[in-house]
């Protein structure tokens, strides 16, 4: 059993050569360990692809919230809270998958939306500035997410991987 597990671990890390710091391998391997079949990787695949959908949907909601905040000046406060909770939501799942960069950016969005600075300290920045910062961070996190997505799709031999 032990040797089988060690083997699994090796294939797990060997399959993800170029993850860099987009993906924390030790965290992601925990999920790979849960796969019953190392070729099919049904469980982790469904988790990861479920996360892709979740992330895209969350980004969509973030964009919607941002444009709503821009068009209705007085709704800024509500949208900030909404963005904060969207950031928190994606933070949890990205952290569990080991997407460290995405997680950190989501945390920033959560902080800004809750009137806090990058480090989570309360700030009296104006709503418009906070929204601006969130907008920039959303743009960043999308890039970081794309990179992680590319690596993961490659790992799962997704035909989209090369076009993405």
């Amino acid at each position: 059993m032990a040797s089988h597990l060690a083997e699994e671990s090796e294939t797990g890390s060997a399959g993800l050569p170029d993850s860099g710091d987009s993906l924390d391998l030790s965290t992601f391997e925990q999920i790979l360990e849960m796969d019953d079949d190392e070729d099919e990787r049904e469980f982790s695949r469904s988790i990861v692809y479920g996360f892709f959908e979740q992330a895209e949907a969350t980004f969509g909601k973030m964009d919607k919230s941002l444009s709503a905040a821009e068009s209705q000046k007085h709704q800024g406060e509500n949208e900030l809270a909404n963005l904060s909770s969207l950031g928190h939501f994606l933070k949890g799942s990205s952290a569990t998958l080991g997407m460290t960069k995405v997680k950190d950016s989501c945390e920033k969005i959560q902080h800004y939306g809750a009137h806090k600075d990058d480090a989570g300290q309360p700030t009296n920045m104006e709503d418009t500035l906070l929204l601006k910062k969130i907008k920039a961070t959303v743009a960043t996190v999308k890039v970081e997410y794309k990179e992680a997505e590319r690596i993961l799709k490659q790992f799962y031999h997704d035909p989209d991987a090369h076009t993405a």
Binding site: M1, A2, L5, A6, E8, S9, G20, D21, D24, S26, T27, E29, Q30, I31, E33, M34, F43, I47, G50, F51, Q54, S85, H88, F89, K91, G92, S93, A95, T96, L97, G98, T100, K103, D104, E107
Partner: protein, 647 residues
């Protein structure tokens, strides 16, 4: 043209893109600086002459006021004009030469936003003596004194690299230590919170029992007084009354203290005295603990002191001095300030993911160790998690988590630990499920959720249920943690959780569901050590059927005569006094917590489970050994402490 190596060195230090295109000016100046001024003049005149050529005016020309000259088109200037006049095509060289003659580039405010009147790509240079229509003043232009050379440069550069290596190694090692310290600190922090909370609970229970006992005693005093008064009056009455009263009600306490029934006042006095002594002890400890809490709060470790003073960081009351406590608080503050920014809890993990990979040179042995340990960690974890933890039956776990990814992964992990899993989307669903009568052995509760957050949900659940609830959250600052505990949560599992952390949590709180290899019955501890078996059995019976005090069944007077004091309470002080004499370690006696008067509404049963599980787990303490003795001697199998436990 011959080129000078030294000159190249200088250029590279100057930061320009030194290339070896012809640069006779610098050659001459370097080797013949005694004639430098003459040559300077030659060069400057060349420049002057170049500017007088009107065909260049689109590329290089005098400035508008004649006090400066402007290179309008850098590229054309470099390619077509420089070679004609200066025999090279290196703009950087040209600029360097100008600098040597003490020309300065004219800056327009800051370079990003200021706009040069000659366009954004223009370079404007100025020398006070270099003016259009003033050829004579060119003679005043002198070459600047050459900057002192730095011959040992090569050595200088090599040494810092080695030092950098060393410093980096030390830095990495230090960060590693810091991180270990932080992890240890967080662990201790949680333990402290638990311990303090439990101590507080025990103390409050103790105080409550005290009050109950005082009530009992004062009542007994009145009964005793009446009895003696009665006994003075009549013979036959006296006999019955005497047998009646004390055993039925005072029984547990009095029998223990003094079996001399022919002297009714003496046991009472004895009990009163004991009670008095006990009281003093408890008061002292209580104050002590609060003092610790206060000290920590005052030292500013946490900005918001918790409402009831049950801070998570007080030391145990037995560890004495306030000075040591202060020292600890100080340390606490410092560690937090230093370690937090690089800590895992912040999501930044420079040790492993970023730092190491970004260090461009090979790290010495310490570094390798770090990497090795990281590599070996998953393997070790795997081994431990794939093993069946050995449950008596599959633990029922409720996973409360709004995030589908976390929920699925958490469920999968739990499933691999042979647990039966139910899940709830948010706090509301969790409360509803538990309120509807679903029984679980453990609840894993996210904190931030829609509709109802985890802390509020726990607060509600605690009104009717005492299943252990573990907070799963990335908010693990110590004030967060103490809030979780205050609202009845039992432990904290930091997010993102690992399989290892999850398994540890299960083993910690579900130890009573595990097979015990050495034959200890998991539900074991019925009694504290100093309680005689018979009285233990008696008290258990008291709870199930109040009227059956063994020696005095026939004489039992209606409980209605004792307003406000239930039979359970009458028994409780007895159970409780002895453990108190033996110290806090006796809190494992389950019976003493059976009183419904739990001042905090705190999860008593859970705490017992935890302690039991700890006994079952790593550390068999002396208490556990005693309990094992009792288990063998007293295989009643009764388990009064888990009335609501799912089976």
């Amino acid at each position: 043209m011959r080129f000078d190596d030294n000159m190249d060195d200088r250029q590279s230090i100057g930061g320009g893109s030194a290339n070896s295109s012809s640069d006779f000016v610098s050659y001459f100046h370097f080797h013949h600086h005694e004639n430098g001024d003459l040559l300077t003049l030659v060069q400057v005149r060349k420049l002057y002459k170049m500017l007088e050529d009107p065909s260049y005016s689109q590329v290089v020309r005098w400035g508008d006021d004649g006090g400066s000259f402007v290179v309008l088109e850098n590229e054309r200037f470099t390619k077509s004009i420089l070679p004609k006049h200066f025999k090279h095509s290196n703009f950087a060289s040209f600029v360097r030469q100008l600098n040597k003659y003490d020309f300065h580039k004219v800056r327009h405010n800051n370079e990003e936003n200021g706009h040069s009147p000659y366009g954004s790509g223009a370079w404007e240079f100025k020398h006070p003596e270099f003016k259009a229509n003033n050829k004579d003043s060119l003679d005043n232009i002198r070459r600047k004194a050459p900057a002192p050379r730095k011959p040992p440069q090569v050595v200088d550069e090599a040494a810092p690299t080695q030092q950098m290596d060393l410093v980096n190694t030390q830095l990495v090692a230090t960060q590693q230590q810091l991180q270990q310290l932080q992890q240890r600190y967080e662990e201790l922090n949680i333990h402290h919170s638990i311990l303090t909370q439990e101590l507080m609970n025990v103390q409050k229970t103790v105080v409550n029992h005290e009050h109950v006992m005082q009530n009992v005693m004062s009542y007994l005093h009145s009964v005793d007084a009446r009895q003696r008064r009665d006994s003075k009056i009549g013979g036959p009455f006296a006999h019955t009354e005497e047998n009646n009263v004390p055993p039925a009600n005072v029984d547990p306490a009095q029998q223990q203290i003094s079996p001399l029934e022919d002297e009714p006042a003496s046991p009472l006095q004895h009990a009163t005295k004991l009670l008095h002594d006990l009281n003093a002890d408890v008061q002292l400890n209580y104050k002590n603990l609060e003092h610790m809490s206060d000290l920590h709060n005052r030292n500013g470790a946490i900005s918001t002191p918790p409402p009831d003073g049950s801070r998570g960081h007080a030391r145990a009351p037995t560890s004495a001095g306030s000075s040591s406590s202060m020292g600890y608080a100080k340390l606490h503050g410092d560690t937090e300030a230093i370690v937090y920014p690089v800590g895992q809890s912040n999501g930044i993990d420079p040790m492993y993911s970023e730092h190491i990979h970004n260090i461009p040179y090979p790290m010495p042995s310490k570094e390798n160790e770090a990497v090795d340990s990281r590599m070996s960690a998953p393997a070790a974890r795997k081994k431990s998690t794939q093993v069946d933890p050995g449950w008596v039956r599959p633990p029922q776990i409720l996973l409360v988590e709004d995030d589908p990814t976390c929920r699925r992964i958490g469920s999968k992990f739990l499933y691999s630990f042979r647990c039966a899993i139910d899940s709830a989307f948010d706090g509301l669903e969790a409360v509803n499920k538990m309120n509807a009568g679903s029984k679980y052995d453990l609840v894993l509760m996210d904190i931030i959720m829609p509709n109802l957050d985890g802390v509020s949900a726990t607060h509600l659940i605690r009104q009717f249920d005492h299943t252990p609830i573990i907070a799963m959250t990335s908010n693990i600052r110590s004030d967060d943690i103490s809030m979780y505990f205050q609202h009845g949560m039992n432990d904290v599992l930091p997010k993102p959780f690992t399989k290892e952390g999850l398994l540890n949590m299960l083993e910690k709180h579900l130890g009573h569901l595990k097979h015990m290899p050495d034959g200890i019955e998991p539900m074991a501890p019925h009694q504290g050590s100093s309680i005689p078996q018979s009285s233990a059995a008696q008290s258990l019976k008291d709870e199930s059927s109040p009227a059956q005090s063994p020696s005095t069944i026939s004489n039992w007077q209606s409980p209605g005569q004792f307003p406000g004091i239930s039979p359970t309470h009458a028994a409780a002080p007895h159970q409780f006094m002895h453990p108190m004499h033996a110290g806090y370690s006796q809190e494992q006696s389950p019976v003493q917590f059976q009183t419904p008067h739990t001042p905090l509404g705190a999860p008593r049963q859970m705490q017992h489970r935890r302690q039991i599980s700890e006994i079952g787990g790593e550390d068999i303490s002396s208490d556990a050994k005693r309990q094992r003795m009792y288990d063998q001697a007293n295989p009643l199998g009764m388990n009064p402490m888990h009335p609501g436990r799912p089976r």
